[in-house]
Symmetry: C2
Subunit: 401 residues, 2 copies
DNA sequence: CAAACTTTGTTCGACTATCGCAGAAAGTGA
DNA sequence: TCACTTTCTGCGATAGTCGAACAAAGTTTG
């Protein structure tokens, strides 16, 4: 006789899980929920009622009959913006208003100057996200006349704001610690600042973590262990362990940007002061600089991408080298963590040569057992992953249990 | 207003946790358990009764009064061997019989020849561990006359056997996959073999995982995220995430032995066929071989350690290089995983120069945020960590819930 | 030494979450 | 029209937990 692992209940059936089942479209009726969650119909009914009274769920008429009584369709209140999200990047910020299902209601990008400092940047973005959400008010309070004893919040109320920062965020304090490309932000307490400038709950996290959460919930929700690389101007990673975001001891988990890789000689100097950092070799910023030093002037990452698409030798070689470098670090990560999937996102993920050499390096340097069933993918959720991840973070905090 | 993480209940109060509190000595009475677990006294009383009737706990007279009624002392039945453990190494196996508290009752080492193949080696070890446990029979069934409806197992019954293997073990199948230094073991299904050769439950895992579990339970039980390096003849790691052993998708998590490191030129050939693997540079086997190639003949790892203690230049230089190599890989791991502690065990952990250069490399190459509060330690549990970890594995499986 | 207080542990009623089942509601199909 | 299916709710039963009262067994104090 051998002991098997007790099969862990994939869906424990907490209110959050029910909500997720509806939001994801997996369940449309109470009966669906009962089947999928394993809970009894009566329990589901009761839970659903509670969620409806909290305004987190609503009934939307009757569905199609499957040979019996027609189901009373359930849906997450949609069309209204009740969650704000800010995905701050090196040069641009993406600002979104999302509904309780985590779907984007409206979104816009705007350039930001990180150098203006946290007060200015965050102050403006907070104002903008508030305005954006207010422009698409949430669903009216569905309850009849007068607020009942358990009446949902007033229609259009913003329930929370999620913010992603392109640098190390100490969790859960929300303080920024030694960011390499955010001068003037070191030690800034984002959470405290937001507390003073808005009266809705705010969650702050690293931008790569948001991408990880957004992608995992959208396409990998059934996987337990996943690693997401965000390769844009900088390089970061988000980690899912046991189905949940792994932040580590200080919240800095996934920050592989300053891992050293074997590099050209002399090793390029990184903005952190060290040499040979992954970020100094394989990030978008590094590619721009390296091309400039090789006498190929480019303005920005978009320019680099164009060069690669045009088949420029120098740019392509650099992209390949970047892919190898990322793969080198990722190989250690895969051996160590043994995830089910590694997905790469960010603008550099669009670069085919980079992806190819990353893949090759990974297969070459990983344990067979670790790559046997490993999925290596591109993050395909689109430019709104960040704000979607931010919304998930807010939803998780807002839904009691 | 900012959202804080809901403080996760460190002690949920399942039967397993109660047992652990007693076994660790943190609690001696029902009142202690109630205080520490947060459960109500009545619930604790009921749970304890159940555990006693299962033979997992027993009352051992009255304790000292603290100004009131004297507590009825609780203890895990001790003195009897009810768990068998095998910690298989490259040249030796450590065989132990342990009690329900995870304490070693009796233990012995014996040389093994891995090359004899799994059937012979495991067959002999299984027989030996069974005999060892039988020599120290467990406590008699405490129940009165005749087996009650919930009578504990017969006295002296072996409740399970835990086995650690120095190679990749696919979990939970218990199959060995591509071990680099275990010829003839590839693909061998240890679990199945044990099922056929004994009638008690068997758990199989990687030896580094056992060291990790043993150390974490013994000295770091309050930490959530930890990494344990086992550096002996080979090199492996065990990972604790969220207080639990992280095995990853295939059970190969922590297997960093074949990560490539910057090495001497030409890079040493590894037993896996690749070059420059961590194991080929920094393992005990690698040190022995490298010294031999430098004209310093040594027989085994013990000889290397003696040379280092004697201040031999070559040996010390190699140890430093090994420490740097381990630190190099570990730096990636620390940045990525952000653990609260990194501890190194195995025979090479006794080597001061190795440890020192590993430490230095780690501090040099990690994100400040990641090393700010990081503990870098030696595993101090002793040579029985492995069997102790194996016992913990068995206990976790045996205690229902 | 007796009364008062402490600490430990149990008993019992209350409360909550869940389940199973009966059954109502609403529809399909022969 | 009648049997059957599917969906959902209402209700009693059950399990797990808690709080309060209480019993047990000490210590401390007057």
């Amino acid at each position: 006789m051998t002991i098997d692992d007790a099969p862990r209940d994939l869906l424990r059936g907490g209110p959050r899980d029910l909500l997720r089942l509806v939001a994801s479209g997996a369940a449309v009726s109470r009966a669906d929920l009962a089947r999928l969650s394993g809970l009894s119909p009566s329990t589901v009914s009761q839970r659903v009622e509670a969620l409806i009274s909290q305004g987190l769920l609503e009934e939307t008429g009757a569905g199609k009959s499957r040979g019996g009584r027609r189901p009373r369709q359930l849906a997450v209140p949609t069309g209204g913006a009740v969650i704000g999200a800010i995905d701050l990047g090196a040069h641009h910020a993406r600002i979104g208003a999302l509904d309780l299902a985590g779907q984007v209601v409206s979104v816009r990008s705007r350039p930001v100057r990180i150098d203006d400092g946290p007060e200015v940047v965050l102050g403006e973005l907070l104002a903008e996200v508030t305005a954006l959400a207010a422009a698409e008010p949430g669903p009216d309070s569905a309850a009849g006349s007068g607020p009942g004893p358990e009446s949902p919040p007033a229609g259009g109320a913003l329930r929370g704001i999620g913010i992603g920062i392109p640098g190390p965020v100490q969790h859960p304090t929300g303080r920024i610690v030694s960011p390499s490309r955010m001068p003037g932000w070191n030690g800034f307490d984002v959470s405290a600042f937001c507390r003073d400038h808005t009266d809705v709950p705010v969650v702050v996290d690293n931008d790569a973590n948001l991408m990880a959460l957004g992608t995992h919930r959208a396409v990998h929700s059934e996987l337990d262990h996943a690693v997401y690389i965000k390769a844009g101007t900088g390089i970061g990673a988000g980690v899912i362990s046991g189905g949940q975001l792994h932040r580590g001891s200080q919240g800095s988990a996934g920050d592989i940007s300053h891992c050293r890789v074997v590099a050209t000689d002399p090793a390029p100097l990184c903005s952190c002061g060290n040499t040979g950092c992954l970020e100094a070799v394989a990030s978008g910023a590094a590619l721009v600089r390296a091309l400039g030093e090789q006498g190929v002037p480019v303005d920005d990452l978009a320019g680099v991408m164009r060069l690669i698409d045009d088949g420029d030798r120098h740019a392509t070689a650099l992209a390949r080298q970047a892919g190898r470098s990322i793969g080198e670090i990722l190989a250690v990560v895969v051996n160590f963590f043994n995830p089910q999937v590694v997905a790469i996102g960010g603008r550099l993920a669009e670069c085919e040569p980079l992806l190819a050499s990353m893949r090759a390096t990974l297969y070459e340097r990983c344990l067979p057992l670790a790559t046997e069933t490993l999925l290596i993918e591109r993050v395909t959720v689109g430019p709104d992953v960040g704000v979607m991840g931010a919304a998930q973070l807010v939803i998780d905090q807002v839904v009691n249990m």
